[in-house]
């Protein structure tokens, strides 16, 4: 990582031999960047082997620096965060154009993650919960404005998009690196692979691959013992007097998402006595995460009578959250009616603009 206070000319000349690397966060929590930084020595390897041209958390280049680069001149860009507003979208397009390889890095970029649950609500519902909250004094019902005339001049904010989108719903993506956040040993392995590739000692996997994760399910990494899974009801952890430390959590009735979730983390949560919540996204080959999990849960329900089955299913308090906690924005439905209606209204208001949901994956 080079710092340069006066211009980029000298740096560009000195670093021209090294391939370029970038990392960016859109609507994210910053945990992905912290996860990369936590690979300590590997970050130094990135610095030694790449010219880091853009990485807001770690070094100092600007949007305009990226705009000035030749198209396709960045070899590898790690993009974290979902597409929540107009600024996120602009950066996704910009970095796609400038990058040979664009990686959807972490759950938000891959599948929408927890912030994707906002797709169950309309923007006005989201704004009302925050800006008319019980502690907010807002008698005029003020909302943040995309453009506002202050006494001294105009102030602008990015436009909030009614439907949160994943990166590949906005631009084509080359690789997916899942996890919330990706675990550092997985990130380190990907960094080391990339370094081998640029030295001609290895090749990148086929375009479209999931990298930095396994190809099975979280259950395969889980040390808990499994017997015959048959349950009469789902229970919540706080309702259980004792949680067996070695027996499969799902077999104890705790709705653990392991069977539908990709492996790669090492089953950290089940090892710590907590159920898998699905942060590594759908297991290899799964199109719709929730459908796979529903089928996995159905297979452990110990009942044949429809009324019994109904009763057992009703013990899951929040089906949409249970089955689409991290993956709602990338599911077949992607969003609820309230969000879609608002998106449709916004799109209709943009003369000549293509509807946001029609651009999904359409660019390559």
């Amino acid at each position: 990582m080079t710092g340069n206070g006066t211009g980029n000319g000298a740096r560009a000349a000195a670093a021209s031999a090294k391939p370029k690397f970038a990392m960016y966060w859109a609507a994210s929590c910053g945990g992905c960047d912290i996860a990369v930084l936590n690979t300590s020595e590997n970050v130094l390897d990135v610095d030694a082997n790449f010219d880091v041209v853009f990485w807001p958390v770690a070094m100092d280049a600007k949007y305009r620096d990226v705009e000035a680069m030749a198209d396709g001149s960045i070899l590898l860009t790690l993009f974290s965060g979902g597409i929540r507003n107009s600024e996120n979208e602009e950066l996704a397009h910009l970095l796609r154009r400038k990058s040979k390889l664009l990686v959807a890095f972490g759950s938000c970029a891959c599948e929408g993650c927890i912030p994707g649950l906002a797709n169950l609500s309309s923007p006005e519902q989201l704004f009302a919960a925050a800006f008319d909250s019980i502690t907010t004094e807002n008698p005029e019902g003020l909302r943040p404005q995309a453009e506002w005339q202050a006494p001294e001049g105009v102030l602008r904010l990015p436009v909030f998009a009614p439907v949160l989108r994943t990166l590949d719903q906005v631009v084509p993506v080359d690789y997916y690196l899942p996890g919330c956040p990706p675990e550092r040993h997985q990130i380190a392995a990907v960094i080391q692979l990339a370094i081998k590739v640029i030295h001609g000692e290895a090749e990148f996997p086929p375009i479209g691959s999931t990298i930095g994760a396994g190809h099975s399910t979280c259950c395969d990494e889980c040390p808990r013992t499994r017997g015959i899974k048959k349950i009469k009801a789902f229970t919540r952890p706080q309702e259980m007097a004792v949680i067996d430390p070695v027996l499969c959590l799902l077999e104890q009735g705790i709705p653990c998402n392991g069977p539908a979730t990709r492996d790669g983390c090492g089953a950290l949560c089940p090892r710590a006595g907590a159920q898998c919540i699905g942060c590594y996204g759908p297991a290899e080959g799964v199109v719709d995460y929730g459908s796979r999990l529903i089928s996995a849960f159905a297979s452990v329900i110990d009942a044949t009578d429809p009324a019994d089955i109904e009763r057992i299913i009703a013990t899951i308090p929040d089906p949409v959250g249970q089955f689409y906690r991290f993956s709602l924005a990338s599911s077949l439905l992607r969003a609820g009616r309230a969000a879609w209606d608002a998106q449709g209204a916004l799109d209709a208001g943009r003369a000549g603009a293509a509807p946001a949901h029609a651009t999904a994956g359409a660019e390559r």
Binding site: G3, D33, D60, D318
Partner: protein
């Protein structure tokens, strides 16, 4: 001619921040706006989710301080279920939290705040970062900083199950305990941590307190803001980052009162402005009087500096000694008013960096104290709730301010409503005021805007370690900045840039 200075982005507050400075015809600062363009809507989409998932879902508000949300959420869950975690669970949560503070404050001090002092506010940009510190002070110091971060995260991982977004705090306690061997290992790390903080304090002494120019900068008007202060204290009035009553002290050092987390609505209200997505909390009893300080304005500050200002002292010996030296140096001979806390108020925002070191020592000493407490290895780490879930508030001191999670649930424990007041948000108004004050102090008619001036404006909000402090947790740790100066017709007059 009205000129406008746009600083975009100033930093990354889980995304981006922007400052717009308007100049009047004489080239003086007419007004400054600190905008936050980010909004995700957690309050709404937490509704409908089971309350025990809140410590997992609200983690994702912030990947820099997920432990703060994990803890506030778990405490709110306890309150919702009317349950007390067993002693070992409280010790484990406190241990996790102290380790988090240790890692977090370390990176802030060395990667973000340190470079301005170690390298100097006007040092070449390329050197004013953590790598510059390593080059100047030697690889040994750099190695220790990396080791300190690693130790902090390792303890969080052992107790919390995961390094980022921990998973073990549950309603009524913890999902798992730790073994005696793990506790011993953590205690060893804590002992090293105490020595490391001792060396860090000495570094601060040598470089800042020993330099009259820096001392003048720290105590000068440019970075001083007289506001109310808020922070959590224990039954003896000492700093407690995990639990206690929240005390409010006036700019003159009078204790206005203290409240239990569940009473936060009587004390805090929030204001909406149309030009930003972030709200401005203020003291409800005093009221919103605009972006001004003083006893008549409800603007308050909740930072390490605020926590020291409201506390009578600290419960660990070396941190207490440092606390006393802090006030003896910056508010000498001032015992505060009769209804005060026994010391004067320090309003100098840059002194917040020293305050952070005092808390760093408290965190390191707490790690040892907690890990060597024989009760911490008990396997009784969870109380099973027996009452119906209703409503509850959980609060902790996040490194960047008092954090409140408030949930309402139905009888199944599914959320029907949520209200969150997040650490950095508390300081939005004072931060905006500090930036404005620095701009007004530094920019005048005819001022040539240099890179060093930009940095001195930046130092105004850096004192708060806002969770734009994501940048803090980096290696070189520089924030990007471009200043575009436009004429009133919008034409670009000049562009100044600072690269890392």
């Amino acid at each position: 001619m009205t000129e406008r200075i746009t600083i975009d982005p100033v930093t990354r507050l889980e995304g981006h921040g922007r400052i717009e400075i308007f100049l009047d015809g004489a080239g003086e600062v007419a007004n400054a706006y600190f905008q936050v363009p980010e909004f995700r809507g957690f309050e709404q989409f937490c509704v409908g989710r089971p309350v025990e998932e809140m410590p997992l879902l609200t983690n994702r508000i912030c990947g820099v301080c997920p432990e703060a949300h994990h803890m506030a959420a778990a405490k709110a869950c306890d309150a919702v279920y009317h349950v007390q975690p067993p002693p070992a669970a409280v010790l484990l949560r406190r241990l996790l939290y102290a380790a988090f503070y240790f890692a977090d404050h370390t990176t802030d001090f060395y990667a973000l705040a340190g470079p301005d002092f170690v390298m100097g506010p006007d040092a070449p940009v390329a050197e004013r970062n953590l790598l510059g510190i390593v080059h100047k002070l030697g690889l040994e110091v750099g190695g220790k900083v990396i080791k300190a971060r690693k130790y902090g995260h390792a303890i969080v991982e052992t107790v919390g199950g995961r390094g980022i977004h921990p998973c073990t705090a549950v309603p009524g306690g913890m999902a798992k305990g730790i073994t005696a061997a793990q506790a011993a290992e953590i205690a060893e790390m804590g002992r090293w941590a105490i020595e490391f903080v001792g060396e860090s304090v000495k570094l601060f002494d040598d470089i800042v307190l020993g330099n009259p120019a820096y001392l003048e900068m720290v105590t000068g008007d440019t970075y001083t803001e007289r506001t109310y202060y808020m922070g959590t204290v224990d039954a003896e009035g000492r700093l407690d980052t995990y639990d206690g009553r929240i005390r409010v002290v006036s700019p003159d050092g009078e204790v206005v009162g203290s409240f239990a987390p569940a009473e936060y609505r009587d004390w805090i209200a929030e204001r909406v402005e149309p030009w930003t997505y972030l709200k401005f909390p203020y003291l409800k009893k005093i009221g919103w009087k605009g972006f001004v300080g003083g006893a008549d304005s409800g603007v308050y500050c909740a930072t390490p500096l605020a926590r020291l200002n409201v506390a009578n002292g600290l419960s660990t010996p070396r941190a207490q000694a440092e606390f006393e030296r802090f006030f003896a140096t910056l508010a000498p001979g001032d015992a505060g008013p009769a209804n005060g806390v026994g010391h004067g108020m320090v309003h100098h925002r840059l002194a917040g960096h020293w305050a952070r070191l005092v808390e760093l020592m408290y965190a390191a000493e707490s790690i040892v104290g907690l890990a060597t407490n024989p009760d911490i290895t008990s396997d009784q780490v969870r109380t099973v709730p027996t009452e119906k879930p209703t409503e509850g508030v959980g609060s902790v001191e996040a490194p960047r301010g008092t954090l409140f999670h408030h949930y309402w649930t139905d009888e199944r424990g599914v959320l029907t409503r949520a209200n969150l007041i997040v650490g950095t948000t508390n300081n939005y108004a004072p931060m905006a005021m500090s930036v404005s004050r620095a701009a007004r102090s530094l920019i005048h008619g005819g001022t040539v805007i240099t890179e060093g001036l930009l940095n001195r404006i930046e130092m105004a909000f850096r004192a708060y370690d806002p969770c734009l402090g994501c940048a803090t947790h980096s290696l070189p740790g520089r924030m990007p900045m471009i200043v575009t100066i436009r004429g009133s017709d919008g034409a670009v007059v000049d562009v100044l840039r600072r690269d890392g």
